[in-house]
């Protein structure tokens, strides 16, 4: 028998800072931030490598789109610190829940880049093996995969596995009811899920001030009784540190967290978008000046951890990846129409087999 009318007021977690957590400023100088610890040098190098490779991948995907080899591509340009910092913060056993925009996070996580592009190429809906990479399919209906992450970690806990999950979502997605329900389920179930909101300032053409009047999106955490963090999303070190900390807290049973990372979508929403209709080029330029790669590069050079050769090696790695992607995507996909009917159920129903046969007949005749 439960009794609840004398709800003990838990000490509410503190308010997220209005000023985003920053470990490295836009000139590549360390910022003293007592509560957060910078990742070690190896991780910093890994972050830069991930971003360099990620950006090259992103450019390659853009080029493939212009050539008509991808149906559509939502670029990660400008958001590399979030995606690489977030992905690298995960343990191997953790799960990533990405959106359509998070190709770079997937590549960082080790998913075959061509498989990442399967969906966007107009080929099958999800190209990679979710179980193998512990990455859910890229999700298009906004905010809907957030509750999946809560359920998945719950299932893992039942199996005795300490699996945390990182959900990536956009600023626009936070307006959806599904975001709320997921945050709340995570809080009530004390699920080890970290929600990383990449606030890239725009939801297609709608600026974030039309999505929310909250001081920061991380303030939403207060309403669920969980932790909120506000971080500079163009500072890979800060993102990595904050996300790692939140994941560690989550795994330690301290519950979920909502993180807002301030970043910017440098490119159009997708290749089909027309940003000149709704935003000023000067805004984009201003954000180019806060480039996450330059910033970390500057830091690592200043601290003697990076030289031209090391950077060239990273660039070469990106180039090699891009070349591989280009080559492997040069030919035509071969899709088997039979497969339309293969996966709807674990085994196709009589009705589907009939339809498969009808299509086969049709294709034979044609």
């Amino acid at each position: 028998m439960k009794r609840i009318d004398e709800r003990p007021a838990p000490a509410p977690p503190g308010l997220p800072s209005l000023e985003p957590v920053r470990l490295v400023d836009r000139h590549g100088r360390r910022v003293d931030t007592p509560l957060y610890q910078s990742p070690g040098n190896a991780v910093l190098l890994e972050l830069l490598r991930g971003m360099v490779v990620g950006r090259r991948f992103d450019q390659q995907a853009g080029a493939l789109t212009r050539q008509g080899r991808l149906a559509v591509y939502p670029s990660s340009h400008g958001q590399e610190a979030c995606q690489v910092g977030g992905a690298l913060a995960l343990d191997e056993g953790d799960w990533l829940f990405p959106t359509y925009r998070d190709s770079v996070a997937l590549v960082t996580r080790g998913v075959d880049p061509v498989e990442v592009l399967t969906l966007l190429r107009g080929n099958w809906h999800s190209g990679y093996d979710s179980n193998r990479y512990r990455c859910a399919p890229q999700c298009t209906p906004l905010a809907t995969n957030a509750s999946h992450a809560v359920g998945l970690t719950y299932a893992a806990r039942r199996k005795g596995e300490n699996v945390a999950a990182l959900v990536l979502m956009g600023d626009g997605a936070t307006s959806e009811g599904d975001a709320h329900e997921a945050y709340n389920f995570a809080a009530v179930w004390n699920a080890p899920v970290v929600f990383l909101i990449q606030n890239n300032q725009w939801a297609i053409s709608v600026p974030v001030h039309k999505q929310s009047k909250a001081p920061t999106l991380a303030h939403k955490a207060i309403g669920y009784g969980i932790r909120g963090h506000h971080v500079d999303g163009n500072d890979a070190a800060a993102v990595h540190s904050v996300v790692s900390g939140a994941l560690a807290d989550a795994r330690a049973g301290k519950g979920p967290a909502i993180i807002e990372a301030q970043t910017y979508r440098i490119d159009p929403h997708t290749n089909a978008d027309a940003p000149q209709r709704y935003r000023d080029a000067t805004e984009v330029d201003r954000w180019r000046g806060r480039d996450p790669l330059n910033r970390l590069e500057a830091l690592l050079r200043a601290e003697g951890l990076l030289d031209d050769d090391a950077l060239a090696a990273m660039a070469a790695e990106g180039e090699a990846l891009a070349t591989r992607v280009r080559e492997r995507m040069a030919g035509e996909d071969t899709l088997d129409p039979d497969e339309l009917f293969a996966h709807v159920f674990a085994s196709p129903t009589a009705q589907l087999l009939e339809q498969r046969q009808a299509l086969r007949d049709e294709l034979r005749e044609a």
Partner: protein, 354 residues
């Protein structure tokens, strides 16, 4: 054999599934200590612990969404939508994820989950407590949609739904929760994707499911007093559809009526008519007719008797199946006049079977 109500049979199915399979989890609104508003989950929290049967926050999209995540990771969640109109908030999760995840991932992430939904009217419920939403689910590829009509089927089909590798929308005819029937402990009836003939007859086939099976059987009994020998088919599975059983019956009888509670327009009965007609056209002595709810929002309790198909309305419809005479091919109507703007002015004759 024990006599159980349908609610008890469902309870037993959940109980046995929880006992036999560690992966089975039951949750939703008020399914814990209260045992559900219809007591279908009665005693499960007590028997299996808060860990296996529990109350979640009050948010249907979150309930289904978390179930998706659990199923992705190998659990077998069984969630309840308290009444079917309260399943609508979860519609996006159901249509865009539950139905599609297995296909999306080429079989990589199958979702063995069950969404239990008490549906239909006849219980005097106020607005939103008597919807029949089966057509929405049945039209959504990737979902199995089943509905039992007897306690024995309730037990067996729920067990099978939980064991299914596919997501199942399990529609429970709420007004039959208290109907009793024999249930052999642990016994399975026909596979859940098969229709069954509940009454053998020769003159016409009544096709029904869920709450209307009993009504169809009552109608057949009444018709028999009038000398008509009616066959009754209980569909059980709305998706996929068991063409074999239904087609065989209708080819035999040459006449059919489909019965459901949901509004007729665009309802599940339309699918039954369309496929049965296609497969049995030259066996048919009359068009396959439908008896369903009117095309109105579900009415208030004091008017629901007029909305819901009952024995009399079904008998009236059977009477419209052109029993007396073989039809004589009519004169073809004259070609319609063509109006100056090139549009045909139609005859505007709306009489039914004029």
């Amino acid at each position: 054999m024990t006599e159980l109500t349908m609610a008890q049979a469902l309870n037993l199915a959940l109980r046995d599934a929880l006992a036999e399979d560690e992966r089975v989890l039951v949750y939703g609104e008020d399914v814990g200590p209260l045992g559900g508003v219809f007591r279908v989950t009665d005693g499960l929290t007590e028997a299996f612990g808060e860990d296996r049967c529990f109350d979640s926050p009050l948010a249907e999209s979150g309930i289904v969404g978390t179930a998706v995540g659990m199923a992705m990771y190998g659990q077998r969640p069984v969630v309840e939508m308290q009444f079917d109109a309260f399943g609508y908030p979860a519609f996006e999760q159901v249509v865009s994820h539950v139905a599609k995840m297995g296909n999306r991932t080429r079989g990589g992430l199958r979702l063995p989950l069950v969404i239990r939904i008490p549906y239909g009217g006849g219980i005097g419920g106020v607005e939103h407590h008597s919807d029949s939403s089966e057509a929405y689910y049945a039209h959504t590829p990737g979902l199995r949609v089943v509905t039992p009509a007897t306690p024995a089927d309730a037990y067996s089909m729920l067990r099978e739904a939980i064991e299914s590798p596919d997501p199942v929308v399990f529609l429970e005819p709420k007004r039959r929760y208290w109907s009793k029937g024999e249930v052999e402990p642990g016994a399975r009836t026909e596979p859940m994707d098969r229709a069954v003939v509940r009454r053998v007859g020769t003159d016409a086939t009544l096709i029904a499911y869920g709450p209307m099976v009993t009504t169809a059987l009552d109608t057949a009994a009444a018709a028999s007093a009038e000398g008509l020998d009616i066959e009754v088919v209980d569909l059980r599975s709305l998706a996929p559809f068991d063409d074999a059983t239904v087609t065989a019956s209708v080819r035999k009888t040459g006449r059919a009526v489909v019965v459901h509670e949901a509004s007729t327009f665009g309802g599940y009965g339309a699918e039954v008519v369309a496929r049965v007609t296609e497969r049995c056209f030259h066996y048919l002595d009359a068009p396959v007719l439908r008896v369903g709810g009117f095309d109105i929002p579900y009415p208030p309790p004091k008017l629901e008797e007029h909305h819901l198909p009952g024995v009399d309305r079904i008998l009236d419809t059977l009477a419209r199946l052109q029993w007396e005479s073989r039809w004589v091919e009519p004169e073809r109507s004259a070609p319609s006049a063509v109006a100056p703007n090139g549009l045909v002015l139609p005859a505007h004759d709306t009489r039914v079977n004029a």
